[in-house]
Symmetry: C2
Subunit: 238 residues, 2 copies
DNA sequence: ATAATAGTGTCTTTCAGACAGTATTAC
DNA sequence: GTAATACTGTCTGAAAGACACTATTAT
């Protein structure tokens, strides 16, 4: 491994933090206040410090910039991005992208006076985020994260990470519909979701709404869904 | 993103190069000749140089250490490893692991006199590689790579990457059996593999063997298998 | 009652998996 | 012929998807 020109680089952990609110998939973005006014949006990120692993940095970014603890948050490495090789920055930065699910937006945006420093993190609909001006490379990370989340919904119990302690089958279906971007047959989804061993666990409680009250469930012990909930069942636009 | 202590690191691309020979899954390993005699085995790797992307380094490692061109080789990023944070090396090294499929062992081991420098790369059965003394972290990369390859066989046409230009359905089945570590019902596999649109394309040729000659196929245009070839069909030991 | 949502019954079709049976070669 | 491998036919059971139907609330 004789190598004439190995390069030194800074390393960051960049987070694709996804959540489902109001039936739509949202991503956490930070707004860097550019002095020139036209500040860009970017994913929450943190440099990997000495003695720290990339995981540690990801957890730190989650805490400092999103204001969420790593408790109950699914954190999974997505991919590492090394392009562009050199812009005009003195040292190269390589970015390890992470997918974070389960950091709900309830804690964020505590009001104008509560913020200690400027973690101006906002939850933006993913379509808007992709249409707007994201930092270089961050759009790719976001689409990669959405695709990964979509795949994992099929064969893992990941969808429950988007929800609170107790949830209804409809709310669970809403997660699938938001991430996959389509409609699912409520009746078939209901049967299917309950048929998977260890996916859902009845709590005995109910939630009243506009129609018949829905039973509440918590996530079960299973992490793999078999047979999978296939994306093929999506119908129509939304 | 005020960060008090961002660390500089070297970056390497480490390759998990898998192939199927003699019905068994093999991995390419390089033997570093340690002066103390007891040299360790490690995955082929290359430092990411200035102006180079991690992909470039992976391709270079594939060429220099495995002696394969990137032509026809499926190269896919696996994961980035940042532990251990600091051993006694002055600068930290973070490793981007890649999965490489399709670099057959036919070109390697050109005989003792042909090697320019010591790319003493050998193909080792994965069970042996995992049992032996791999470099720190490389065992984890190898198991991650095997798992990833196994998953991708289910829903992509990746298996054909392990084979040459023309192959029989039995040879294809052999790939699945080697990677998944089990037996598949030949009759059902045959029907299933041929039923997937765009997976296999008949060439019209045949290969004679011990029994009835088998028709030859080349890979078709499809990259996704639907419905998937499920691992659930594995039976028995081998 | 009506609307709305939750949940069940049931029918059809598709497909996986088992395995019997046929085809084509080498010996 | 036998052995061996390639391939086809057919049966069965499980599950997906469609959709009609019942259940339970708010208004």
């Amino acid at each position: 491994m004789s190598d004439p020109d190995p390069e030194l680089a800074h390393v960051t952990s960049d987070l694709v933090v996804l959540t489902v609110t109001e039936g739509a998939l949202h991503v956490a973005l930070t707004h860097r206040e550019d002095p020139e006014g036209d500040g860009a949006w970017s994913l929450p990120r943190a440099f990997v410090r000495a003695g720290e692993s990339a995981d540690d940095a990801a957890v730190r970014a989650l805490h400092d910039e999103v204001g969420a603890s790593a408790q109950g948050v699914t954190l999974e490495q997505l991919k590492t991005y090394t392009d562009p090789p050199a812009n005009h920055v003195p040292t190269r930065i390589i970015s390890i992208a992470w997918l974070a699910l389960g950091a709900g937006p309830s804690e964020v945006r505590p009001g104008p006076e509560a913020g200690t420093d400027s973690h101006e993190t906002q939850w933006v609909r993913v379509e808007e985020a992709l249409a707007g001006s994201l930092d270089v490379g961050h759009a790719e990370m976001l689409t990669d994260g959405i695709h990964r989340a979509g795949s994992k919904l099929e064969y893992t119990s990941l969808a429950t990470s988007f929800l609170g302690e107790e949830f209804t089958v409809s709310e669970l279906r809403g997660v699938y519909e938001a991430v996959w971007g389509g409609c699912l047959e409520p009746a078939n989804f209901h049967r299917k979701a309950l048929s998977v061993d260890g996916f859902l666990e009845a709590t005995g409680n109910s939630r009243i709404g506009r129609g018949r009250p829905a039973k509440l469930y918590r996530r079960g012990g299973a992490s793999v869904i078999h047979p999978p909930l296939t994306r093929a069942a999506i119908r129509g636009e939304r």
